[in-house]
């Protein structure tokens, strides 16, 4: 059986890859002819400004080449019957008039097509042909004909060498049996015309945020130059938030991502136009995710972006095309002139959602998104059908990716038998031993990321002058599917036996190119990566000097490549058990899900009982009972035969490697040794005990303490709440994400129990993102008073004996007020656990600047660590709510299952090796090895038995400490041998720069 995934955006892609890597067959259905979704249109991603295509493209390629994934694009679901475990799905594939199996993606047809049609990819700001490919890196890389624009001239059919154009192609009905379904339908952007007062569609210099994104992109309509409609470079730009969000007339909910993407737009625009002045108009700045607040601070401090706490009422156009923006702040009206206005449009449910809700038989919520429950965040109302990404609520890329993995974990449970589709067969490896090096060099433009600073053509020509190089080329994106084909073709045509790619960082892209080599019948280790983006074009300005440096780096790469040897992967068995650190909501959820998949779990909790922070939550904002959830989870965990719980216990030591860890757990009954294949870190976080605002006084408490009191039935008559206590300051710059919600939750509870109670909330920005917005609205309606304060003018709490008073400044009245409440409640920060530091050292995984655990990649690998076999879930990642914690826990399960579902994993071949003829068995390397991978062993020779060093490959990490210790150069790490690095140095330094 298999899984159907509907929607080929980043969520659908991630869910597909997880399931396919766990050995399931996946059908990925996409409405458009190509996958990639909204993310493919993005120029950069917040908060790291990573190039969106650079991180997406490897994933697209992975999907395209994965043996377990079948992409059914340009298709829609027509009917679904059956139930969980056995759905029958009918899919209609619409004709593209090009045979995908024949099209090589050469693009000659598109260059000769006489039609100019509106280019949807560039949001209507450029033209495309009628036969087209949505974007250059698209997968599947096959052109399609837009029949609504095609004039039927027949040119494309005539010029197509591959004979792929077929005007008679008919629609095709595909029927599949699948055991479960994941809906990753994405969302639709709000149509800004519906807010007529902003003049979108009438004033040419009012554009939407997605149009601005395309303008900023190197692959956009003006190749990354920002022009307005009349060709003028805008010097003063207004960005308007909440267009189609938090708006009673259109969509009342918050779209969650716009504040941070507007911040990104402002920063990137400043990089394009350094003297531009950028204003962001927002009611609240909602940069609540991991690293987002710091990002907004950078926008203000380093880039001079101006944030106005205001909503724009109307826009007028002047004769010169400039725009007058009218806005209100603190009850006063203002007018300001701008060159360009960008509308930050929000998300709505996807166009087909109504139709799909009927076809799949699932319920939608009040806003038309797929209905989920906060305790089962990826399950729809129908068993066996799951949801991920924006289809159920607006969210950013990492949250979508985490949900995608989470829904994959859920989908796994419907697989009774794992009808695993075999390993991909690669062509037989060509034996290159003894051959003279024939090196192929590929220099990447990376759009303009490299090409704008490094002369890539000159670099490619320079490569030809180096010994051993027989072929050299430069390509727009080395990672795209077409370039991969070019590399494979060059390997064949020129009989290449070594490949050097000068592009970005090997840390992200090396696996992709290694695989390309395998597909071309070359050993993957005959590949060398030269980093001319992160370590050249992005860090230098002077083109001539950067090009010289790039030559020197390339020369080093080619010198090393000459000495590369083919290496064989190391295979190891996987212990199908997991160690889970932390017995809170995340840890228990992960343990139960893993146990359901047949994985034995060791759950280690430092406290005397399970539950973590969940123990202190008595009600949720949406009226659910977390204590019921807690009791249910604890009972299930404790009665599960596959889960062994260690309470009052901590991790003492861990050794081993992915698939084969050996840990020592310190328990009250002594040390217990366990073997396991994976580790999930779910150690949580805690509430900050404030040092400010008179905390410690009987009448000054935190939100968690308030909730406990209300839980006991003690309802205060008057409360002043202070937000951002211990967060968003110099000492702790991040936003704690959950406290706005907590304050409103408790305020509403107080109002519910005592409608006469007075609740005043002093806030900086109210961050009730997503569908939480309605509770903010409800609180205002029910008489909770919200007063804004700035960090420059914070409230003051004074205690006098048993009394407490709060003095604060009211911006609208323009004066200081004093309140004497029964309780002052501090919305205190969520802070990382103190023992994170120690744990990070034990596990060899990093922490971020704030002391939370640092994931492998903030966008696309939210629950992975850079170290294989270790995963991350819950508050140990960053502050988050119950549904988000469950998502992350399930995501960690899915990621762990990609490993634990296998009997064997294949490990990197770059390991230490002993040249026995040089080894004296002195034992220095044995002592130096940090993982005891080397031993002195007996070897039989013709003259008798000799003692020599010997490496246990499955344990060896390839660190090379041994190689630098060996007095005779007898032990080397393959891929970093003494001679290879020596040669690289020679190459590096022979170029005069």
């Amino acid at each position: 059986m298999s899984v159907l995934i509907v929607g080929g955006g980043i969520a659908g892609i991630q869910a597909s890859l997880d399931l396919a890597d766990s050995g399931l067959k996946v059908y990925l259905v996409e409405k458009l002819p190509v996958i990639g979704g909204r993310m493919s249109q993005l120029d950069k991603t917040f908060p790291t400004n990573d190039c969106s295509m650079c991180i997406l493209s490897p994933k697209l390629n992975e999907v395209a080449r994965h043996e377990n994934i079948e992409i059914i694009s340009n298709a829609e679901i027509v009917a679904v019957e059956g139930e969980a475990g056995n759905f029958r799905v009918k899919i209609r594939r619409n004709p593209t008039y090009v045979d995908r199996s024949k099209c090589t993606g050469c693009g000659v047809c598109a260059t000769l097509c006489p039609v100019n049609a509106i280019d949807e990819y560039n949001e209507g700001m450029s033209y495309r042909s009628a036969i087209f490919l949505r974007y250059p890196q698209a997968v599947p890389k096959a052109y399609v004909i837009d029949r609504s624009r095609c004039v039927g001239c027949g040119i494309c059919q005539n010029v197509c060498v591959a004979k792929a154009v077929d005007y008679t192609q008919k629609e095709e009905i595909i029927e599949l049996n699948v055991s479960s379904i994941i809906l990753a339908l994405g969302g639709k952007l709000f149509d800004a015309r519906r807010r007529g007062e902003y003049g979108y569609g009438i004033y040419p210099n009012v554009i939407t945020s997605i149009q601005f994104e395309r303008l900023l992109s190197a692959t956009g309509p003006y190749e990354g130059h920002v022009f307005r409609s009349d060709g003028k470079v805008p010097k003063k730009i207004a960005i308007l938030q909440c267009v189609g969000s938090r708006d009673a007339k259109t969509n009342p909910y918050c779209s969650s991502v716009c504040c941070t993407y507007a911040t990104k737009h402002a920063i990137i625009a400043k990089e394009h136009i350094p003297d531009a002045e950028i204003h962001i108009f927002a009611m609240d700045v909602r940069t609540f995710g991991k690293g987002f607040e710091e990002y907004a601070n950078r926008a203000k401090e380093e880039y001079g972006v101006i944030y106005h706490k205001a909503r724009v009422a109307k826009i007028f156009q002047k004769k010169n095309g400039n725009l007058i923006v009218k806005y209100e702040r603190d009850g006063k009206s203002f007018e300001e002139e701008f060159d360009l206005v960008v509308l930050s449009v929000g998300f709505e449910a996807c166009e087909d959602i109504r139709k799909y809700s009927e076809i799949f038989g699932i319920n939608l919520n009040e806003y038309g998104f797929v209905l989920t429950d906060s305790f089962s965040p990826v399950e729809t109302s129908k068993p066996g059908i799951f949801v991920a990404g924006i289809a159920c609520e607006p969210k950013d890329i990492p949250e979508s990716v985490a949900q995608a993995s989470a829904s994959a974990a859920k989908a796994l449970s419907y697989e009774k038998e794992r009808a695993v589709v075999g390993k991909k067969e690669f062509p037989p490896e060509r034996d290159v031993i003894g051959e003279v090096p024939r090196i192929g060099v590929f220099v990447c433009h990376c759009g303009i990321n490299i090409a704008s600073t490094v002369d890539v053509e000159e670099l490619a020509n320079f490569a030809k002058t180096l010994d051993g190089v027989v072929f050299s080329d430069h390509v727009l994106f080395a990672c795209s599917a077409d370039s991969q084909e070019r590399i494979k073709k060059a390997i064949k045509d020129y009989n290449l036996n070594r490949i050097v790619v000068a592009a970005c960082t090997p840390r992200t892209h090396e696996p992709l190119f290694r695989r390309t080599l395998m597909e071309a019948g070359l050993n993957p280790y005959l590949f060398e990566f030269v980093n001319i983006r992160e370590q050249c074009s992005w860090v230098h300005r002077d083109k001539a000097r950067a090009t010289e440096k790039a030559k020197s780096l390339l020369s080093a790469g080619v010198h090393k490549a000459r000495l590369l040897e083919p290496l064989q992967f190391v295979e190891v068995n996987v212990v199908k058990k997991a160690l889970i650190l932390g017995g809170g909501l995340a840890g228990m959820t992960a343990a139960l899900e893993l146990a359901k998949r047949g994985i034995e779990c060791y759950l280690v909790e430092k406290d005397s009982e399970l539950g973590g922070n969940l123990r202190h939550i008595y009600y949720t904002i949406d009226g659910k009972n977390p204590q019921d959830l807690l009791r249910k989870l604890v009972a299930e965990v404790e009665s599960n035969d596959r889960i062994k719980v260690f309470k009052n216990s901590t991790l003492e030591s861990v050794e081993g490697f992915v698939g084969n860890y050996r840990s020592r757990i310190k328990t009250p009954n002594g040390i217990v040794e366990i073997n396991h294949g994976a580790i999930i870190v779910a150690t949580g976080a805690r509430e900050y005990k404030p040092k400010e605002f008179g905390y410690g006084h009987r009448k000054v408490i935190t939100q968690v303490e308030l909730e406990e009191r209300i839980g006991r039935g003690e309802v205060p008559k008057s409360v002043v709440m202070i937000q951002c206590v211990g967060s968003r300051n110099d000492y702790r710059p991040y936003c704690s994400r959950i406290c706005c919600q907590a304050a409103i939750k408790n305020a509403l509870k107080i109002k519910e129990l005592n409608p006469e109670a007075e609740v005043l909330i002093l806030f900086r920005d109210i961050r009730t993102y997503g569908f939480l917005e309605k509770y903010y609205e409800r609180a205002s309606r029910e008489g909770v008073i919200f007063v804004h304060y700035t960090p420059e003018n914070p409230p003051v709490v004074r205690t006098n004996g048993d009394e407490v008073e709060v003095e604060f400044y009211d911006e609208i009245l323009g004066e200081k007020l004093i309140s004497k409440p029964e309780l002052v409640v501090l919305s205190s920060a969520t802070v990382p656990n103190e023992d994170n530091k120690e744990l990070s050292k034990l596990l060899k995984v990093p922490l971020d600047q704030n002391g939370f655990f640092l994931e492998a990649h903030p966008k696309l690998r939210p629950v992975d660590f850079a170290t294989e076999g270790i995963f991350l879930a819950g508050l140990a990642h960053s502050p988050r709510l119950i549904p988000e914690t469950i998502s992350l826990a399930l995501a960690a399960v899915s990621r762990a299952m990609t490993l634990l579902s296998k009997d064997k994993i294949i490990m990197d071949a770059s390991k230490a090796e002993v040249a026995r003829e040089r080894c004296d068995a002195c034992g220095i390397c044995v002592k130096a090895c940090p993982v005891s991978a080397i031993e002195i062993a007996e070897f039989k020779t013709r003259t008798g038995v000799e003692l020599k060093a010997s490496v246990k490959k499955a344990i060896c990490l390839g660190c090379g400490i041994c190689s630098a210790s060996c007095p005779k150069g007898a032990i080397v790490v393959k891929g970093f041998t003494f001679d290879q690095i020596k040669s690289a140095l020679d190459g590096l330094l022979e170029v005069s720069a």
Binding site: T48, N49, D50, E271, T505, P506, R507, N531, R533, E534, Q535, W538, V539, H540, R541, D542, R545, A546, E548, K549, S552, L553, A556, K841, K844, P846, D848, Q849, L854, A866, T867, S910, A928, P930, V931, L957, G958, C959, G960, I961, S963, A964, S965, V973, F976, F978, I981, K982, A984, L985, D986, L988, L989, E990, A993
Partner: protein
């Protein structure tokens, strides 16, 4: 100036990548050779770099306690101290050899340290003592 940096894959190379992602500028003279661990850097490579005309060499690794391989950076430090003494002994300006701890999140530190080291090396002038002469 020619400055060679041996950067470990897990911390310093990632830190250099972060400097790039953050678009922090540093001198073009700095060129990085990726190694898996600072503990892998053979002192002979450093001498080879000077022989081939490097004006400065940096060994960049994880902070003490952060090594991906637990102890590799301690080995790097031991070898660094010994090599520096030897270089000093033969009258070579040992400031041309630098040990740097830079983590994956210290892009800024990496860029700043590179700019500072270039100044140090520039003040010493071109390196002649160990350069191979025909």
């Amino acid at each position: 100036m020619k400055i060679v940096v041996f950067a470990c894959n897990w911390c310093s190379y990632a830190g250099a990548d972060l400097a790039g992602v953050s678009r922090l500028k540093y001198p073009e003279d700095v060129k990085i050779i990726r190694v898996m661990c600072s503990g892998m850097v053979n002192p002979a490579w450093i001498l080879r770099a000077f022989r081939q005309g490097a004006d400065g060499v940096v060994i960049a690794g994880c902070h003490p306690g952060d090594c991906h391989y637990m102890v590799g950076n301690y080995y790097a430090k031991k070898r660094y101290i010994l090599l520096k003494e030897l270089l000093n002994f033969i009258g070579f300006e040992d400031e041309r050899l630098k040990l740097l701890w830079a983590s994956a999140s210290e892009g800024k530190k990496f860029a700043e340290e590179m700019a500072a080291f270039k100044n140090v090396v520039e003040n010493l002038g071109e390196q002649e003592k160990l350069r191979w002469k025909e």
